[in-house]
């Protein structure tokens, strides 16, 4: 799958409390969660983000809580992909499990600013930015399989139900 989107750039250690603050965790409604996505970091994010936009971030994106509401809020806000230097481990697995595309790459961060456009070939793990082609860290085979199924629940449905 190929994606093209506008960049939203965030720094290191973007935690799940700013991605979706606990005061909004009394619902599982994804549209409701999307309304408050990133609110404590950038109050205008939710109103300005457009379908297909791409988040680019630094180290440990998604540190903190196990709340799956965080990747759900990002996905429901229309963001098509998160590229970070590294991900916190629970956020990483939650994203894979719910089918929010993520890629790990260290170089993109310094090459882009908010508003830039980048193109990504998800299947190849290639990121095209400013005339350069960068490679994302490859996923292990099992994770690729979950991605192919579009998430862990589809995998479960197919194999266990």
């Amino acid at each position: 799958m190929k994606l093209k989107g506008r960049v939203w750039k965030f720094g290191d250690n973007v935690d799940t409390d700013v991605i979706i603050p606990a005061r909004y965790l009394n619902t599982t409604d994804e549209k409701e969660l999307a309304k408050h996505c990133m609110e404590d970091l950038d109050p205008e994010f939710a109103s300005k983000v457009k379908p297909g936009d791409i988040i680019v971030a630094g180290e440990s994106f998604g540190i903190g809580s196990s709340r799956e509401h965080a990747p759900i809020a990002i996905k429901a806000s229309g963001v098509s992909l998160v590229i970070a230097k590294s991900f916190a481990r629970i956020f990483y697995r939650n994203s894979i499990n719910i089918g929010l595309p993520i890629l790990e790459n260290e170089e993109v961060y310094d090459l882009v600013e908010t508003g830039d456009e980048i193109e990504v070939d998800l299947d190849k793990g290639e990121i095209h930015v400013k005339g350069k082609t960068l490679e994302a860290r490859p996923f292990p085979e099992f994770i690729k399989e979950i991605i192919r199924y579009g998430g862990l629940l589809n995998y479960a449905k197919e194999k266990y139900l």
């Binding site: 409390d17 903190g64 799956e68 995998y155 479960a156």
Partner: protein, 426 residues
């Protein structure tokens, strides 16, 4: 080459002889639970994809502890869905208000998690049970739904970092200071995806409460879990409360492979304070005291520091003192049994005399949920585990993390101080 305790537990649950870091397995889980934030989503997913029954009703946990007693109507609807799910599927480990406590204090206390278990919880602090010699890790709601259906979770075998801590801890230092000190050294990403194994004579000399505190905050260094080999204290703790008759004690082989070994001298670990807005921003209390940081609220409780020995320390310091003018001291015993024991030992009276308010066992203020949310510009000292921006309330509030002794002393002084500031050098 030998195996670490974490590798041995994973291998056992993967049905293989041995495992190597980097491999991914679908492993059997001994217990899979969620709380009123995360299980709500799992129940919805479970029903939506048409699953009919859980893999084992005795191995599923539903623990409404974050926003209970229900803080609003939406929460009431969520806890209702948990109650209904528990009835429908005959879930034995559903805890209603009155018997519910903070999950990571409650499950060990009830003997639900035992040494050698592989446990997943849809809560990041599930790593707490490593103190029992179990492999336990936080996962998300989809993982939990998957486990409820299949009895399994996918796990990548992690590398292990070993922390060897020897020597005598300074006065008023405990498990909280050990883990804050380590996070201050290695950073919030310092153990990402890895296991943190804690050992050494300092750890052996700690009671179980302090060991839970250490493993509880392994996630704050990004770790998959924290773990401590069981010893006679673990066995004594487990034997008094175990829900099942058998369990397995695993220990790391002498020639087990570690990614890195850290040697730490306990004498260096004076009480620590983590400054906003990351747990890695630690400073020794004696430096902090000079900074004259005025506080509006002190919180003593949580899955990190809401156990009886935490309340014992708080009581020792608060006895005969009053909290500072206009400061709110909120104390939350982590479970009903801890609450009762605090009552019987006279701590609750000491707290009330000091001007504290006692909240029911709940995660409440730790995540800015309820029972002590902060206003703009307010500062809190807290024995909880996270001090992210807006964690305890308004985005312009600040949280300083400490052990219960420092939090109690600071509540009296109205600013962040060492226990000696209140009690003198003894």
């Amino acid at each position: 080459m030998g195996q670490t305790i974490a590798q041995k537990i994973i291998a056992k649950h993967a049905g293989v002889e041995r495992v190597t870091p980097g491999e991914i397995y679908l492993v059997d889980v001994d217990f899979a639970f969620g709380n009123d934030i995360t299980a709500a989503l799992s129940i919805k997913q479970f029903n939506e994809i048409g699953a009919r029954k859980v893999f084992d009703p005795e191995k599923v946990g539903l623990i409404p502890d974050h926003y209970t007693p229900n803080k609003d109507i939406k929460t009431a609807i969520i806890t209702q869905s948990m109650r209904n799910f528990a009835r429908e599927h005959g879930i034995t480990h559903h805890y209603e208000v009155g018997e519910v406590g903070i999950e990571h204090a409650l499950l060990p206390e009830k003997g639900v998690v035992l040494p050698g278990d592989l446990v997943i919880g849809a809560d990041s602090h599930t790593c707490t049970y490593g103190a029992l010699g179990a492999f336990s890790t936080g996962i998300g709601s989809t993982d939990l739904t998957f486990a409820w259906i299949t009895g399994k979770v996918w796990l990548k075998v992690p590398e292990t970092l070993k922390f060897v801590i020897n020597g005598k801890l300074p006065r008023w230092s405990g498990g909280k200071d050990i883990i804050l000190y380590i996070i201050g050294k290695i950073g919030v990403n310092g153990a990402n995806y890895r296991v943190m194994e804690f050992s050494g004579d300092t750890i052996r000399n700690l009671n179980m409460d302090n060991r839970f505190t250490i493993c509880n905050m392994a996630i704050e260094a990004g770790a998959k879990t924290g773990i401590i080999e069981p010893d006679e204290k673990t066995i004594e703790y487990v034997e008094q409360r175990k829900e099942r008759s058998t369990y397995t004690v695993y220990k790391s082989d002498k020639d087990a492979e570690y990614e890195k070994i850290y040697e730490i001298n306990a004498e260096d670990i004076v009480p620590q304070v983590a400054f906003p807005h990351l747990p890695e921003n630690t400073k020794p209390i004696y430096e902090v005291e000079k900074m004259d940081i005025r506080i509006d609220q002190a919180v003593i409780g949580s899955c990190t520091n809401g156990r009886i020995s935490d309340l014992e320390i708080a009581a020792k310091i608060l006895k005969g003192h009053k909290v500072a003018n206009k400061l709110r001291l909120i104390i939350l015993p982590a479970t009903p049994a801890i609450y009762r024991e605090a009552l019987e030992r006279g701590y609750i009276e000491i707290f009330l005399d000091a001007g504290a308010v006692i909240a029911p066992p709940t995660c409440g203020p730790c995540l800015g949920g309820h029972m002590g949310v902060l206003a703009p510009g307010e500062k809190a000292i807290s024995t909880t585990n996270r001090n992210f921006r807006g964690r305890m309330g308004h985005v312009e509030s600040e949280v300083y993390l400490s052990n219960p002794a420092v939090a109690a002393a600071s509540a009296i002084a109205g600013k962040i101080v060492s226990p000696e500031y209140i009690l003198g050098g003894n």
